[in-house]
Symmetry: C2
DNA sequence: TCCTATATGAACAGATCAGTATATATACAT
DNA sequence: ATGTATATATACTGATCTGTTCATATAGGA
C-alpha cells in the first residue's frame, strides 16, 4: 500500500472539514474537492467517522508541533516561552483561514460522551495542557520556589486564557484576543510571584 | 393564535437541540420528543433554521436573565458581583444536564460568516460582554480611579476567563473550571489596582 | 506477458433529511 | 348550530446522505 494517496486524502479532507464543518461536508463533496474517488476513500477508511478521526489525529500533531515550535523560536527561557504562547496564539488568529479550533468545533458536532471523536478532542486539549504544564514546571525549577500544586494551578489559569481567547476571536468579541490574553497572563504570572516578568 | 403551543415547541426543542445537537436532531425526532405534530411546527416556523433562531433567542433571554439574577442574589456590591460571576458559572457547570454553551456549539455547526444563526450566536456573546462591562463600570464609579479604557480591558480579561472555563469544563480538562477562573479573576482584579478584593 | 495492487467512474441501495399536501378532529365564539 | 382557528395523523416528494457494487484502467515486478 503506497501511503501517499491516503495521506493526501487526510490532508485535503482536513481543509474541507475545517472550513465547512464535519456534518455539513458529505463524502461526495470530498470527492469533488479532493479529486479522489469515493471507492479509494472507502478502501482506506471503513467509515466517514474513521476518516474524521484520522483528520483529527493529523490536526493534533500538526497544531501541537507548529505551536510549540513557534514558541521555542520566539523565546528560549521558560518565562519568555510562556508569554510567547500568546504571541503564537495571536499569529494563529491572524492567519487568513483561521476558523476557530477544530477540536472545539468537532466536540460540538459529536457531543455524545462516549463518541470516539468527542473523546479524541478532549485528548487533544489534555495534550496541549501537558505541554503548557511542562514549560511552567521548567519555570518552577528555574525559580526554585514554586510547589508543584502551584504549577498545576497556574497552568490551568493560563490555559483558561488561551481557550477563552480562541472563543472570543472565533465569536468576534475581540479582534486581538491573543494579545489581550497575553496582558492577562502577565498579571497572573506576577500575582503568582514569578520574578522577572 | 394561541401563543402556548408555539412557546411549548420552542421550549421543548431547546432541550432536544441542547442535548443532541442541531444538525443531528431531525424534525421527525422533534415530533417524537415533543409530541407536537410536524404540521403545527411548520405552521409556526417556515424552516428548521427559523425554529433554531427562535430557540436561540429563548436561550439567550433565559441564560442572561438567570445568570445575572443569580449574580445579584449572591452579591450587591460591584466587586462582589464580579466574583459572584464565577460562582454562578460553577453553579451552571454543576447542573446535571450541563452540556457546554449552546451558542459556542451552534456557531460550530453553522460557521458561515453570513449565516443568521452564527451571527445570533456572536450577538449573545456581545450581550454577555456588555452585562459584564456594566458591572465593571459600576466598580469604576465606586473606586473613582479607573479610566474607561481600563474598564473595557479588564472586562475583556474577565470574559476570557469565563469563556475559557466553559471550554475547559465541556472538554473535561477541569472539573471545577468556574472556581479556577475565580481565583484567576481575583489576581486580575488585584493586578488592576482594585481595592478591597 | 501476466499477475497483483491500486486507482477510477458510475450507478445503485437504503436510510434519512426538510418540507408539503390532504383530510380530519377539536374547541370556542357568535 | 355554524363558522373559524388551531390542532392532529399520515403519506408523500425530491433531495441528499453513507456506504456498496461492479466493471475497468493503469502501472510496476517477475
Amino acid at each position: 500500500m503506497r501511503p501517499s494517496k491516503r495521506d493526501e486524502l487526510v490532508q485535503e479532507a482536513l481543509k474541507v472539514f475545517y472550513q465547512n464543518g464535519f456534518t455539513a461536508t458529505g463524502m461526495d463533496m470530498l470527492v469533488k474537492k479532493t479529486g479522489i474517488s469515493k471507492t479509494s476513500m472507502y478502501k482506506h477508511f471503513r467509515t466517514k467517522d474513521d476518516l474524521i478521526l484520522a483528520v483529527l489525529r493529523l490536526r493534533d500533531e500538526q497544531l501541537r508541533n507548529w505551536f510549540f515550535r513557534r514558541v521555542e523560536e520566539l523565546a528560549s527561557s521558560p518565562l519568555g516561552q510562556l508569554l510567547a504562547v500568546f504571541d503564537v496564539l495571536e499569529e494563529w488568529f491572524q492567519q487568513p483561514d483561521f476558523q476557530g479550533c477544530m477540536f472545539i468545533k468537532a466536540s460540538s458536532e459529536f457531543q455524545r460522551a462516549d463518541d470516539p471523536i468527542y473523546n479524541q478532542c478532549t485528548e487533544h486539549k489534555k495534550l496541549m495542557f501537558s505541554s503548557l504544564l511542562k514549560i511552567v514546571r521548567q519555570l518552577e525549577t528555574d525559580q526554585g520556589n514554586l510547589s508543584s500544586e502551584i504549577a498545576e494551578a497556574l497552568t490551568r489559569q493560563l490555559f483558561l486564557l488561551k481557550e477563552g481567547a480562541i472563543i472570543l476571536k472565533h465569536m468576534r468579541v475581540s479582534v486581538s484576543a491573543g494579545l489581550e490574553a497575553k496582558e492577562a497572563a502577565v498579571s497572573l504570572l506576577q500575582a503568582n510571584g514569578i520574578r522577572g516578568v
